[in-house]
Amino acid sequence: MEKLPLGLALDLRKVVPYKTGSWRTLMPVNIMQTPPCTYSCPSGNDIRGFLRVLAEKQDYEEAWHVLTRTNPLPATCGRVCPHPCEEGCNRRDFDTPLAINSAERAVGDYGLEHNLKHKKFISKRKEKVAVVGSGPAGLSCAFHLAKRGFQVKIFEANSEPGGWMRYGIPSYRLPNYILKQEIDKILELGIELECNVKVGVNIPMDQLTRDYNAVFLGLGAQTGTSIKIPGEDAQNVFTGVDFLKRINSGQIVDLGKDVVVIGGGNTAMDCARVAKRLGANVSVFYRRTRVEMPAITAEIDEAMEERIMFRYHTNPVKIITDENRVVGLLCGQMELREPDASGRARPVPIEGSESVYPADTVIMATGQAVDYDGFEIQKRDDQWISTNEDLMTSMDGVFAGGDAVLGLETVTTAIGQGMRAASAIEDYIEGNMESRLAQPPVIYSKDLNTYYYTQEKRFSKEAVSIHTRLKNFREIYPSFNREDIIKEAGRCFSCGLCYNCGNCYMYCPDNAVKISPSTGKYEFDLDFCKGCGLCAKECPCHYIQMSLEK
C-alpha cells in the first residue's frame, strides 16, 4: 500500500483504475445476425455487405467483389430478378424498402464497364467436374467450383451459352451483350465450354460419370408443354418456349395482326411483350384472374402499360383454323371455385359461354418441362428431377439444381442452387458430407432502434416512354446514376452488423467501449463494463445484445 500523500492529494498518473467489470450480471456481446434481405434471397447474397461498401466507401469495385462472391451474374439479376430481398428489407417498416435490385444492376454494370475480374480462392485442384447446361444453375455451379480450383467443363446443347437467360428472356429485359459479357467473365476462371453438344444424345451420361469426379445437371425446363386443344398443329401455333427461342435466335416470325397468348406466367408475359414489339395486337388469355397469375408483378404491370390486353376467366377450347392457318380461338368463360391442388382457385367452365376471338397467332405459354432426352433419372411428381437435401440425384455423384429440380423458379434461385450444389460437390469429392453451418438468426425490424434515422425518398427508376419502348428491343430502364445509387445504399440499416455509427462508443458511461487498435472496430472493455445495457439499447442495428454473464 502506498503511503498517504500530503493532504491526500493524489498524483493521478499513478492511479490504478478500479475494475468495475466485476459488478455486472449481464454483458454486451456482438452478435452478427442475418438481415432479412439475405435471408429472403435464394442465392443468399451478402446484400448488406455490398450496400455498406457503396455507402461507406463509395467503392463500386469492392462492392462488385462482395456481391460476386455469391452471385456471378449481378448485371443479369439486377435486370430480371423479382427481388424478394426488397420484400424482406427491414426498412420497409420504417419508410420504404431499399432499391436493392437497382443497386445490384448498377454494381453489375460497373463490373462490366470496368472489366473487373472474378477472383479465385484456390488455384488448381486435380479433380474434374462436368456441368450440363450453361443456364444460371450450371454457370453458378461452374463458377463456384472453378473458384475452388476444380477443373470444370460445361456442356451446352444450344449454340450459345446462357440457357433460359439467353433463349427465353427477351433482350429488352436482358440485353444479349450484357449476358455475354458476364458469362465470358465467368469462363475466364478457366472453365471450358463446349456448345452444340446435348448430353444424353451427343454424349451419353455414363461417359461423363466415368470421366469426371462429379456431374451437375442444370437442364432447365426449356420444353414447352401444350394444353392439348384441337387445332394446335396449325401454323403459327407455338409454345411459349418455342416462340421465344426462335426470336432470341434471331429468327423472324410473321405474327399477323392479332396475337393471343395463353397463360399467366413470366413466359406468357415475355411472349406478349415480344409480340407487341413485333407490331401485333396482343391479348393475354388466362383462365383465372390476375391475383392467381404466377408472373412477376412488375412484368404484368409493364405488360399492361404496353397496352397488352388481358382477358381473365378465359379458357381456350379450340383453335379455329382455315387452311391450316390460325384465324381464331374459341374460348369459354370460367368461374372460380374452391382451391385445387396448386392452391389456387379452381376454374370451372360456365356452360354456354363460349365465343370466338380473332387471332392470327396463338402462343401457348402454359407450362414448361424438363427435356429428359437420353436421361434415366429418378423424378419427383413425374416432372422434376428428384434430389436429396444435398442436391444429389438418384445417380451417385450426379447433382442437379435450378428449374429442373424446383419447377419454374427464378434466375436467382437457380444461381443459389448452383452454389449449394458446388459446395455439396466439393464435400462429395473430399468425402466428408459435413453438416452445414448454422445460419445466424435473422433480425427483424422490431429489434432495430430506428430513432436515429430520418425518412428519405427511395431511389426510383424511370422507364422510357411506352412509345419508345415498343419501337425496339432495347432495355426499358436506362443506366442508373451512380451517385443516386450510392445515396440509396446509404439508406441501408445494416441490420445485424455494426457499421461504426459510434453510438455505443459515445454512450457508454463507463468508457468501456474502445476502438481496437488492430481492427479499428469497437470492442468492449470487460474490465470496466457494468452491464447497464445502454450500448445494446442504442445500437441501431441490434448488433450488440445483452446476455447473461458467463
Binding site: 455507402a55 468508457n511 457494468k530 447497464c532
Partner: protein, 296 residues
C-alpha cells in the same frame, strides 16, 4: 444521422473522466461527465462538488479522473473555481479551462449563493449543472429542481412545487453564455461545451441526466428517457447567448407527457391502474407552457 458514418472526431474520447468509477450502471451523470470532459480536453481543471459525481469518481486511492480535480465541499464549487481562476490570473499562468460542476441540489439550493456570486463577478469559469432532479447521492431527496409530481423520499406524496428555472436566472445575471442539453444528443452537448469554453466570462450549462436509481428506470433507458424529456417539452433545449434565447431545438413530433412519465418509477403514483391522474394533466400543462414559451 441516416445510416452513414458520421464524422466522429475521435480525439474527443481521451478517457479523461475514465473507466473505473463507481457509478450505477447506466448513470446519466457519469455519461454526461464523460462527454463534458472529453469535449473540454486535457487542459482543464475540474472543481467538483460533493454529490454523486464526486463520490463515485474520487475515492482514495483510485479516482477515475485523469485531469486535475479539486473537490472541497458540497455547495462551493463555484467559489472554489473562482479562486482557481483568480490564482491563474494572478500568477499569470494558463490559459486553462476551469469547469465547476455540481448536481442540482448543490447548484440551485445550497450553492445558489456561490454560483450567483461567481456569475456576478464575471469569472472565466464554466459551470456545469448535472440535473438529476433530486439529491440523489443522499438517497433521492427533493431539491428545487425536482419536477412537479415526482416521488422523492422527502416528498413521498409527490412533489408539490415546480422546477426552478436556473438557466434563465443565470442568463439574467448577464453572463455571456447559457445552454441546456441532454445526454442523448452527445454531439450537441459537446458542441455546447466547446462553444462555452471558447467564450470569456462565466458560462452555465444545464444538463439533464436521468438517474436510473432515483427515477426508477432500468439503466439502459437513460438515453431514451432523455429523448422523451425533450420531445414532450418538459426539458427545452436552447442556448442563451448575450441574453438572447437562440438555437432552440424544435420538437419534430410532440409526445404526450404520459410516454415520458410511465417509464419512470418515481411517477408511478400518477397512474392509478394505468389511468393517469389529474397531476398528469398538470404536468402536461407545464410541458405546453414550455413549448409555447420557447417556441419548441
Amino acid at each position: 444521422m441516416n445510416a452513414k458514418t458520421e464524422e466522429l472526431d475521435r480525439v474527443e474520447k481521451k478517457d479523461l473522466f475514465g473507466s473505473g468509477h463507481r457509478a450505477c450502471g447506466g448513470c446519466g451523470q457519469a455519461l454526461a461527465a464523460r462527454l463534458v470532459h472529453d469535449a473540454a480536453g486535457e487542459n482543464t481543471i475540474a472543481c467538483v462538488a460533493t454529490g454523486c459525481l464526486e463520490v463515485f469518481s474520487s475515492p482514495y486511492p483510485d479516482p477515475c479522473w485523469r485531469i486535475p480535480f479539486l473537490h472541497s465541499l458540497f455547495e462551493n464549487p463555484a467559489a472554489v473555481a473562482s479562486g482557481v481562476e483568480a490564482a491563474y490570473k494572478a500568477l499569470k499562468k494558463g490559459p486553462v479551462n476551469i469547469i465547476a460542476q455540481a448536481g442540482d441540489g448543490s447548484t440551485a439550493d445550497i450553492g445558489f449563493q456561490c454560483i450567483s456570486g461567481m456569475f456576478e463577478r464575471g469569472h472565466n469559469v464554466l459551470y456545469v449543472c448535472y440535473d438529476n432532479e433530486a439529491y440523489m447521492n443522499t438517497g433521492v431527496q427533493r431539491s428545487s429542481f425536482t419536477p412537479y409530481g415526482a416521488w422523492t423520499s422527502t416528498t413521498p406524496m409527490g412533489n408539490p412545487t415546480r422546477k426552478k428555472n436556473l438557466p434563465l436566472i443565470a442568463a439574467d445575471h448577464g453572463i455571456p453564455y447559457v445552454a441546456t442539453a441532454t445526454v442523448d444528443d452527445f454531439r450537441d452537448l459537446q458542441r455546447k461545451v466547446k462553444t462555452a469554453l471558447s467564450i470569456e466570462g462565466p458560462k452555465y450549462i444545464h444538463i439533464l441526466v436521468p438517474c436510473p436509481l432515483g427515477w426508477g428506470h432500468p439503466g439502459e433507458l437513460t438515453v431514451k428517457i432523455c429523448r422523451l424529456a425533450k420531445d414532450t417539452g418538459l426539458f427545452p433545449i436552447f442556448e442563451i447567448i448575450d441574453g438572447k434565447v437562440t438555437n432552440v431545438k424544435k420538437i419534430p413530433v410532440k409526445v404526450p407527457v404520459e410516454e415520458y412519465l410511465k417509464l419512470q418509477g418515481r411517477f408511478r403514483f400518477l397512474f392509478k391502474k394505468g389511468v393517469p391522474t389529474e397531476e398528469v394533466a398538470e404536468i402536461q400543462k407545464i410541458a405546453n407552457q414550455n413549448i409555447e414559451r420557447f417556441n419548441l
